[in-house]
Symmetry: C2
Subunit: 102 residues, 2 copies
C-alpha cells in the first residue's frame, strides 16, 4: 500500500469513474486501474464493483474510504506540524496529533 494508492482510491470513489478520476489525477486510466487492482489484491478484498458505466463502492470499499481520507489528512497535518513549530513562540513543545480539523 502506498500514499498514491490511497489518493487514487479516494479519487475513484469520489468520481465513480476511473477515467474521470484519472483526468483529475493527471495520469492515464490504465495505470490507475492497475493501482486499484493492486490495492485490492494487497488488501485481499474487492473495493469496487465494475460496471459498464463506471465503478461503484462495495461495502468493503465504503468501510475503507474514511480511513484512507483520514490517513491522507494526517500526512498533511504532519507536514504542517513541521512548518509551523507551534504558531507563536519558541516551540520545543511538541503537539500530539489527533487534533485534526475534520
Amino acid at each position: 500500500m502506498s500514499f498514491d494508492q490511497l489518493r487514487y482510491f479516494v479519487a475513484v470513489a469520489e468520481e465513480g469513474n476511473i477515467g474521470r478520476a484519472a483526468r483529475r489525477l493527471c495520469i492515464c486510466q490504465p495505470p490507475l486501474s492497475r493501482q486499484i487492482q493492486q490495492l485490492e489484491a494487497e488488501l485481499g478484498t474487492r473495493l469496487f464493483d465494475r460496471t459498464a458505466r463506471g465503478v461503484t463502492l462495495r461495502p468493503s470499499g465504503a468501510r475503507f474510504l474514511p480511513f484512507a481520507r483520514d490517513i491522507l489528512d494526517r500526512v498533511d497535518a504532519a507536514r504542517q506540524a513541521l512548518d509551523d513549530p507551534g504558531v507563536t513562540s519558541g516551540g520545543d513543545r511538541l503537539r500530539e496529533p489527533g487534533a485534526l480539523g475534520s
Copy 2:
C-alpha cells in the same frame, strides 16, 4: 514520503542508531541512511543530529515522530477494519476512524 520511510524513521528514532535500526528492519544501513536523508530533504527539515555514536532526534524530529507513529497505526486500523467487518453482525455499518487505542 512513503510508508516505508515512516517505518524507517520511527525505527531509527527508537534505536538512536541507524545500524541497529537497519538490523531490526532487516535491511542494510546504506539504504536506511539514504531513506532518512531523502525524507529530511522532502520535508525540508533535518530530523536527526548525526554523532559518532549514533543519531539523536532534533526538535523537528521529535515533533514529527508522534505523527509518524499515528499514521502507521491508522494503516493497521484500516486493514483490520476490512478484516473485521464490524466484529459482531452483518456489518454494513461503517465505523469512523478516530477511535484508536493509542
